[in-house]
């Protein structure tokens, strides 16, 4: 039998973690489980939920007007991941040189990613403005001699998504910093050994740098996939899903269902499908990772 003193100690421990524990149970676990239940209900928020079985899921998967296009729009944004990878990595490699004032450059390139998303969105509304925007002010003199008009960006269904991708790439600094940190961790003796063997800069990058930082690339990729599926703030502020639903992303449509149309059951079903999709996509990345991610100290 435990001594009273130990019991007291246990109790104290539980009491100290209780604020977090209660918070987790009440505000995280309970809502998650409740949303699973609601996803099988017709739930209008203002009146009690009614069980409807799978009909929310069936309605979603056959919705060619909004649900499936919103999923398609979101998947389109995955194009951003390889672009962010290449650009982020290239920038990290450039910022890894030991030249005077490199700290200033690192700060400049990192700056966009510390700005709040809402501020960035409002700023880019100006940059992308088809009439007076900075971007088209640069493009117009270039394209005019060729008889071309610059795109309407957010006003044009075909260019709205690429405009978002461009805007996000501007704030790629967050991942650059992570790449940079891992680049600094690549042991210098590997490069020295390679140089003695006569390896070129290109070979050193391909055969030393990339394998050594592959866990970080992997991390950024997984986070990118999750982040893409949850794409919301930019479109909520900048386009509200238009023009012609071209930027109606998954999370935005979920939000509309829940808070504009009082279809909370439908929205919960969307949330669970989103969870499954994110899970599958992440698992795929994990599965392939065995082939290209190299961990130090790990045996093949």
């Amino acid at each position: 039998m435990k001594r009273t003193r130990d019991r007291w100690r246990d109790l104290t421990g539980w009491l100290f973690v209780s604020p977090w524990l209660l918070g987790f149970l009440l505000f995280t676990l309970y809502p998650i489980l409740a949303s699973l239940y609601y996803s099988f209900c017709d739930y209008r928020v203002l009146s009690p939920p009614k069980w409807v079985g799978l009909s929310n899921y069936v309605a979603l998967l056959t919705d060619r007007d909004y649900f499936l296009p919103s999923l398609g729009n979101t998947l389109f944004m995955l194009i951003e991941l390889p672009l962010a990878l290449v650009i982020g990595l290239a920038m990290a490699l450039l910022l890894n040189h030991k030249i005077p004032g490199i700290g200033v450059f690192r700060t400049i390139y990192y700056l966009p990613s510390v700005m709040p998303v809402v501020a960035v969105a409002v700023l880019w509304l100006w940059v992308l403005n088809p009439q007076y925007g900075l971007l088209n002010a640069i493009l117009t003199p270039v394209l005019a001699p060729l008889g071309l008009q610059p795109p309407g960006w957010l006003a044009d269904p075909a260019w709205a998504k690429p405009a978002f991708i461009m805007m996000d790439l501007w704030a790629v600094g967050g991942s650059v910093v992570i790449y940079l940190a891992s680049l600094q961790n690549v042991p210098a003796h590997l490069y020295e050994a390679a140089e003695i063997d006569g390896a070129s800069a290109w070979h050193k990058t391909i055969h030393i740098t990339l394998p050594m930082i592959s866990p970080v690339i992997f991390y950024n990729l997984v986070m990118g996939v999750i982040w893409t599926f949850q794409y919301f703030t930019q479109t909520f502020i900048m386009t509200q899903g238009g023009p012609q639903n071209a930027t109606l992303f998954y999370a935005l449509y979920l939000f509309y269902n829940a808070f504009r149309d009082f279809r909370m059951g439908y929205a919960c079903a969307m949330a669970w499908i989103l969870f499954l999709l994110t899970l599958i996509a992440t698992l795929i990345v994990f599965r392939t990772s065995a082939r290209w991610v190299y961990y130090e100290g790990e045996r093949r």
Binding site: R5, W8, R9, L11, T12, L15, F16, S18, P19, L22, D42, R44, V45, L46, S47, D65, N129, P130, Q131, Y132, A144, G152, L154, A155, D156, P157, G242, P243, Q244, N245, Y256, F259, R260, D261, F262
Partner: protein, 432 residues
């Protein structure tokens, strides 16, 4: 530290945490406190505060506390959490139907009758905005209404008579074409008319959103289809959809000196009664006129069409002080409360008699244009979106359909039939 002390601290911490936020402000005196959550912020919140102060001064047994700039979703959350304010506005009156259909609002019919208010004193389209399924669930405090505004200098610039606005919709297309101005490279410098709200165009055509008998949607009503077809003609008279859209994206804030109408980027626009005051404030040199909206050539009975909105006040069903809350709403319907708010908020009084009030029509120059709006609001062809439980979705669907039609992705029939299919399904879900 001894273990018992640690237990004591941990316990005290959790108790303290759970107690935070449970405090309530105590009221001084015997006045009944009423929380009013309203949508207005900035200057408009100040205007409403004047109204609240006046009420509190003349009704010492009640104290209204206004919380400004409240979002509708916050109110809905408060209702669900069973702690709503005693009075609230709906920024989007489209929520009225869904709240009423779920029994979240106090039915005001009895209170309305008992307090001696008379329906005959009310402007057309004022109380109907507050009714759902024939029952009164809200009280309107000033209306919004839409008319045609035109820039006289733009008319002169295009060689047109600045005192003669378009009278029919076909005429308006012709005007829009002539008033659109381009530079030598073909870029748009000025649009003939700012692309109007498709809902207003549908109303102007005598279109219909809901069958008054069955309450079911009629999105693909023939007049609605005609309206969207005309809408496309209007946009195309000024350029391609992409061009017009790109030009529109460059418009500045309407409430300020960059208002596209004031800086001459649009020659005409269909807009609300708040504009004359804004023009006075942000562009006093601009010469403009206000007139009733043009009507469809083929439907002369639709003369003087207009679109109505309004400030809707509700009392929640589980309100703790319904009598006092109603006393406030009742007071907003008096002549003095209507004049007070109309002169600062620049809304159209919803009590017919008050529209004749001279202080709202005479004095500063902008009031002459404001008077045009007050007259337009009396039109028998004034329409508003009928309160339904699916209004938010329904309007979004119509805007989407107009978007598709504008770009030529769908024909008006196709677009509106898709809307009809989807909103009917949603309406049936609510009737279940």
């Amino acid at each position: 530290m001894r273990i018992s002390e640690q237990v004591g601290i941990a316990g005290a911490l959790s108790v303290a945490l759970s107690l935070v936020g449970c405090r309530r402000k105590q009221e001084r005196g015997n006045a009944v406190p009423l929380r009013a959550w309203t949508m207005w912020g900035g200057d408009e919140a100040d205007a409403f505060q004047v109204v609240v102060d006046e009420f509190n001064r003349t009704h010492p047994h009640i104290q209204v506390h206004n919380l400004a700039a409240v979002e509708d979703t916050k109110i809905i959350r408060a209702i669900v959490a069973n702690d709503p304010p005693e009075i609230f506005t709906l920024r989007d009156p489209g929520y009225l139907g869904s709240l009423a259909a779920n029994g979240a609002l106090l039915c005001l019919d009895d209170l309305f009758r008992q307090s001696g208010l008379n329906e005959k004193d009310y402007a057309p389209g004022s109380l109907s905005q507050c009714r759902y399924n024939g029952k009164l669930y809200a009280m309107i405090y000033l209306q919004d209404c839409f008319a045609l505004l035109w820039n006289k200098d733009a008319f002169l610039d295009a060689g047109m008579n600045p005192e003669r606005p378009p009278r029919t919709l076909n005429e308006m297309v012709e005007y829009a074409r002539r008033l659109t101005k381009r530079d030598k490279n073909g870029r748009i410098l000025r649009l003939g008319i700012k692309p109007p709200d498709p809902l207003i165009i549908i109303a102007a055509f005598g279109g219909q959103f809901v069958d008054p008998k069955t309450g079911m949607p009629t999105a693909d009503h023939p007049r609605n289809i005609e309206a969207l077809a005309w809408y496309r003609t209007l946009i195309e008279a000024q350029g391609s959809s992409e061009e017009v859209n790109a030009f529109e994206a460059g418009f500045g804030q309407e409430m300020g000196i960059n208002n596209p109408f004031l800086v001459g980027k649009v020659a005409m626009m269909i807009d609300g009664q708040w504009n004359p005051y804004w023009f006075q404030r942000y562009g006093p040199k601009v010469r403009y006129g206000a007139a009733p909206l043009p009507y469809p050539d083929q439907y002369p009975e639709m003369k003087q069409p207009t679109w109505l909105g309004g400030n809707i006040f509700c009392i929640p069903a589980n309100c703790k002080h319904p009598k006092e809350a109603w006393e406030f709403l009742r007071w907003t319907q008096t002549v003095e409360a209507q004049v007070l708010f109309a002169s600062t908020m620049h809304g159209v009084p919803n009590i017919l008699e008050v529209r004749k009030e001279r202080s709202l029509r005479e004095g500063e120059p902008w009031k002459r244009a404001f008077a045009v709006f007050m007259d337009v609001a009396n039109s028998p062809n004034a329409r508003h979106f009928p309160p339904t439980p699916i209004t938010g979705l329904y309007q979004y669907e119509i805007y989407n359909a107009a978007d598709f039609v504008r770009y030529g992705t769908k024909t008006p029939e196709q677009a509106l039939r898709d809307v009809q299919r989807r909103v009917t399904r949603e309406m049936l879900r609510w009737k279940r």
